[in-house]
């Protein structure tokens, strides 16, 4: 190499790298100065001023988890004291495991990085998937949002409602599923408990694809989460192309199973289970309840590490309370997300506990069931 060339490379690299370093340093200094400029009393209310909060969504753009975050984000940002920037960062992969793992690796207890998970994130955690490196025990909820789901079937099966479900016992049915360790565990386990002969066909990408298979007549039984059910299945019910059977129910303040407030006329799974002569007790029922709570009761959770100071979490709570009273939010929310309420505080904690703390017995029962039914090695 010529000497001149080497000199040029060294000078320019040094110059540019120095410039980059200075820019980086300058940005950090201005942040620090911002923090230093506040006295103790101000810190609480102005904590987020000038900061950027990164909200990690471990799902692709456009899906249910993403829509939940993106719908809430602008209202949420508007009401956080100090007017920080709220930035959504989608890190999809491995059915949400990748993004949640990355969060676990990077997060600090300062509220600057928060994670939105869904039932899909809870399932592999509860089933001890070896890829999972996040631990819900290290987190606490900022906000929790439940949802529901409705099972419906084709009128060609000759039944009118869940009251006739006994007639389906001997009929071999197929169900379009995303996979054995997805949220589909809940409906598939439900079918099994009711004694229905349902074979799962895997490989569908999303519940939408499953609904399409129902409309094509490839499968005769299906379930959709509440908002998709309201938008796309209710019109079919009205035109006589689908028969609603039961909902998965909802949890009341005490964590008891009640009818889903979005579908008060539909029996919940527990009612149908009893109607068939089963008792709502024992390991089978407990397992069903635990996984239903994890999948639907705590469908969407917004999380921060356990050590995050309460003053910081309080800022978020203030924002969510204000957000829920925002008239624009109220006007648009039902259409975008459904009827359920974004919970905070104790209520959120309750949902969080139900959704992420499943007993060993129930866990093992579910794993054994998956092994027996789907030959799944977990």
């Amino acid at each position: 190499m010529e000497q001149g060339a080497l000199k040029q490379i060294l000078i320019l690299s040094g110059g540019f790298l120095g410039l980059l370093f200075l820019m980086n340093w300058g940005a950090q200094q201005s942040l620090l100065q911002h923090d230093a400029g506040k006295d103790g009393a101000e810190t609480a209310t102005n904590y987020f001023a000038g900061k950027t909060i990164e909200w990690i969504i471990p799902f692709k753009e456009g899906g249910g988890g993403d829509t939940w975050a993106r719908f809430n984000a602008p209202f949420f940002q508007r009401h956080i004291p100090g007017n920080p920037i709220l930035m959504i960062n989608n890190i999809p992969g491995g059915g949400s495991i990748k993004g949640a793992n990355l969060f676990a690796e990077k997060v600090k207890p300062d509220g600057i990085m928060i994670l939105g998970t869904s039932g899909t994130t809870q399932m592999p955690y509860l089933l001890d998937d070896p890829r999972v490196r996040y631990n819900y025990e290290n987190y606490k909820p900022i906000m929790a949002y439940p949802t529901g789901g409705v099972v419906y079937c084709s009128p060609s099966l000759g039944i009118q409602s869940a009251a006739d479900i006994g007639k389906l016992m001997e009929v071999p049915l197929k169900y379009a599923s995303q996979g054995p360790t997805s949220l589909d565990v809940v409906p598939m386990f439900s079918f099994d408990l009711l004694g229905l002969d349902v074979q799962a066909v895997f490989g569908f990408r999303g519940r939408g694809a499953g609904r399409l298979a129902f409309e094509r007549g490839e499968v005769l039984i299906d379930y959709q989460t509440s908002s998709a059910y309201l938008k796309n299945v209710v019109p079919m019910v009205e035109s006589g192309e689908a028969i609603p059977l039961f909902s998965f129910g909802a949890l009341d303040e005490n964590g008891a199973l009640i009818r889903d407030p979005s579908f008060p006329d539909l029996p919940h799974f527990g009612e149908v289970y009893e109607q068939l002569g089963f008792q709502k007790e024992g390991i089978q029922w407990d397992t069903w309840f635990a996984f239903m709570a994890a999948g639907f009761g705590g469908m969407k959770l917004l999380l921060t590490p356990h050590e995050t100071p309460d003053e910081i979490v309080e800022q978020f709570r203030i924002a969510i309370t204000a957000m829920k009273q925002d008239p624009e939010y109220q006007e648009k929310k039902v259409k975008a997300l459904g009827l359920y309420e974004q919970s905070i505080g104790l209520k959120a904690q309750k949902i969080f506990d139900l959704a992420t703390k499943v007993g060993t017995a129930e866990k093992n029962y579910m794993k054994q069931w998956l092994r027996d039914t789907y030959d799944l090695n977990i």
């Binding site: 060339a5 040029q8 490379i9 000078i11 320019l12 690299s13 110059g15 540019f16 790298l17 980059l20 753009e61 456009g62 899906g63 993403d66 829509t67 993106r70 719908f71 602008p74 930035m87 959504i88 960062n89 989608n90 890190i91 999809p92 992969g93 491995g94 495991i97 990748k98 890829r131 197929k174 379009a176 996979g179 054995p180 074979q199 066909v201 895997f202 490989g203 569908f204 990408r205 939408g208 694809a209 609904r211 399409l212 298979a213 409309e215 094509r216 490839e218 499968v219 998709a228 938008k231 796309n232 019109p235 079919m236 624009e328 648009k332 259409k335 975008a336 789907y374 030959d375 799944l376």
Partner: protein, 649 residues
């Protein structure tokens, strides 16, 4: 219906609505030019503004954005051989050779006018199709979708080159690479070799960039000339491209039709449309000798299909709430945020909204393609720039684009690994389109096969839809026997078989054979449903591989499968060894993983310009500052990340 369409038109030409549409179009054009950035990046930029807009304006902005991304992605596909989006891969095949011949602006002219035409024609079809779209879409069950995947694979015949054996092997290799990751039927993980990154399979963007762009960059690097090889540029301006389209109007109509229909079928994905259109033009043309070497019809076909596809993809998105392509997922998300519900009501009570969307899409296509046509001439000058000045920017762009796939440093390593494989495929005359078609269709073929066997069993073969598509596939195979695209045909004739050493090709073949054996071994570790598909494919292509090995070992140098571009070109064509570009790019990634991408690209550019382009201090500084500056600017406005290093962050 007429009055509804007219009503949609009055809404459209309302100045405010039109303004928002234009805003979306401009944004889409700017973002789409950068490979790897698509609707998602655009949406995140747009989102804060969507609130507070009224329904129709927000929708117009969104439609404008989504509509033109496949349009401006064409720039890099033709000018640099970098596939700008998943639906402009086939455009590279003839578009880039045209650019090399100095006909870049003619190719761009044909591409953009085809885009414009395709978009408009798609909208016309949709206007009539809307009312019957629901039942039509429902006709495509999993059995039909499986057959469609096979139909896509049948295009390999026309794209496999002189040696069908190698084409089939390349396609099978692509399918096996595509089956890395979770098995659709069981969720088991295949061939992941303990690498977390592979759980979700390899991203299409990374594979497309490494198979098409990487080998071209490395070849240009070695030749050291400009992209247009010394040829006069003005030979054929963009107007000639428009004339080419008019001459081939029936082809464009057929391809726009293909685009609309395939786009409307949910579950096929946008990335096969351009290949089906390309296969179609090859099969239906009498003179096939120019394809792959710069036939303008090879640009018109995929470009008129890929804009029509976006229109088609609107159907499942609007009527079923199921996005028909990646950008439609973004569109659907945007609709939810605005408060519009996709579903059956879009053909009943909200049908006026559907017409507004369809025709906004058409107008956006006209605006986007019109603006791009206007820019085609000036931007084509890029192909005259000395390659050593252009190379660092192209390497920066493909690295950045690959990193957008999963935002993992492994994206870059995979780009390098498959880039090397792609370079050898090009050198030894292995059909890269065949590989890519196999890769793209692997998952679809497998999951729909699994579903249709479980849903229909043998009865799937008596379904009318299946029979029709099967007949189409047979016709396609029949026509493909009449000639196949081979980018190396001219070199092959020059090749002197006497002094040819066969060793390098044999080594590459043994590598692929080894991979096939790994696939067989891995499949045997899986459950029956999890392993049967890759096992069957591997078992099917193994005999072809063994046969080829026998040909090579016996030293049958006159056999059509024997080819080595390295030994066929005239001496002195290459000014650097084949290893050099790989070392530069590999070096960039090693340094990136240590100190982060941005500092590494600074070092890379400074060294490259100084050593390879021999620019002086000032010019080097300006070029580096310009390149990195644009990257940082994009990063800042779109909230993008760059790979960070272990030592520095």
């Amino acid at each position: 219906m007429i009055d509804l369409v007219l009503q949609a038109f009055t809404t459209l030409f309302d100045p405010a609505h039109f303004g928002y549409l234009m805003l979306g179009v401009l944004l889409g054009l700017v973002i789409g030019v950068f490979p790897g950035l698509g609707g998602i990046a655009g949406l995140s930029l747009l989102l804060p503004f969507l609130y507070g807009m009224d329904e129709v304006s927000a929708l117009a902005t969104l439609v404008g954005l989504v509509a033109v991304i496949p349009t401006s992605a064409t720039f890099t596909s033709i000018l640099m051989g970098i596939p700008g989006s998943s639906s402009s891969q086939a455009t590279v095949l003839d578009g880039f050779p045209l650019a090399k011949q100095g006909k870049a602006s003619r190719a761009l002219g044909a591409a953009f006018s085809s885009s414009l035409f395709g978009g408009l024609f798609g909208a016309i079809i949709l206007t009539f199709f809307v009312q019957i779209a629901r039942p039509m879409i429902l006709l495509f069950g999993s059995a039909e979708l499986f057959m469609l995947a096979l139909f896509g694979l049948s295009m390999v015949g026309s794209l496999s080159g002189k040696s069908l054996t190698k084409g089939i092997l390349a396609c099978g290799f692509g399918i096996l690479v595509g089956s890395i990751g979770a098995a659709p039927a069981t969720g088991e993980f295949r061939m992941i070799f303990g690498i977390n990154y592979l759980y979700d399979g390899l991203p299409l963007v990374v594979i497309a960039l490494s198979i098409f762009a990487f080998p071209e960059i490395s070849e240009l690097f070695r030749k050291g000339s400009s992209i247009s090889e010394g040829a006069e540029l003005g030979k054929g301006g963009w107007l000639d491209g428009v004339k080419d389209l008019i001459k081939n109007k029936w082809l464009a109509i057929r391809c726009a039709g293909i685009g609309t229909i395939v786009g409307a079928i949910p579950g096929m994905g946008g990335s096969v449309v351009d290949w089906i259109a390309y296969g179609h033009v090859v099969q239906s043309s009498k003179d096939k000798s120019k394809f792959g070497k710069g036939d303008i019809r090879g640009v018109i076909a995929p470009e008129s299909a890929n804009n029509a596809k976006e229109g088609g993809a609107l159907m499942p998105t609007l009527l079923f709430g199921i996005p028909g392509s990646g950008s439609m997922a973004v569109f659907l998300g945007g609709m939810v945020l605005i408060g519009i519900e996709a579903g059956p009501s879009m053909v009943t009570t909200d049908v006026d909204l559907t017409y507004t969307i369809i025709w906004s899409l058409a107008i956006a296509n006209v605006l986007g393609a019109g603006l791009s046509l206007f820019l085609a001439g000036p931007i084509s000058q890029l192909t005259r720039v000395k390659f050593s000045l252009l190379a660092p920017f192209m390497i920066m762009v493909i690295s950045f684009a690959a990193f957008q796939a999963t935002k993992d440093m492994t994206d870059l390593w995979m780009l390098l690994i498959f880039g090397v494989i792609g370079t050898f495929m090009k050198r030894f005359g292995w059909s890269r389109p065949a590989f890519l078609i196999g890769f793209v269709l692997a998952t679809q073929a497998e999951s729909y096969l699994n579903m249709s066997v479980q849903f229909y069993g043998w009865e799937m073969f008596i379904r009318p839809g299946v029979i029709i598509i099967m007949v189409l596939s047979l016709i396609s195979i029949y026509f493909s026997r009449k000639g196949s695209v081979d980018e190396n045909a001219e070199l092959m004739e020059k090749e002197s078989t006497q002094q040819l050493t066969i060793g390098p090709q044999l080594a590459f073949l043994l590598l692929i054979l080894a991979f096939i054996l790994v696939a067989i071994f891995d499949s045997n570790q899986q459950s029956f449903l999890g392993g049967i598909f890759p096992l069957a494919i591997a078992a099917a292509i193994l005999p072809f591989g063994l046969y080829l090995a026998w040909v090579f070992i016996r030293g049958k140098k006159t056999h059509s499968a024997v080819f080595d571009a390295e030994q066929a070109v005239e001496e002195g064509t290459y000014k650097a060894s084949w290893l050099e570009p790989m070392l530069w790019i590999g070096g960039l990634y090693v340094v990136s993983s240590l100190i982060g991408f941005i500092p590494a690209i600074v070092l890379f550019m400074v060294s490259f310009f100084t050593l390879k382009a021999k620019t002086n201090m000032l010019k080097t500084a300006l070029l580096t500052a310009g390149g990195v500056g644009v990257l940082l600017l994009f990063g800042y406005f779109l909230n993008l990340e760059f790979p960070s290093g272990i030592l520095l962050t």
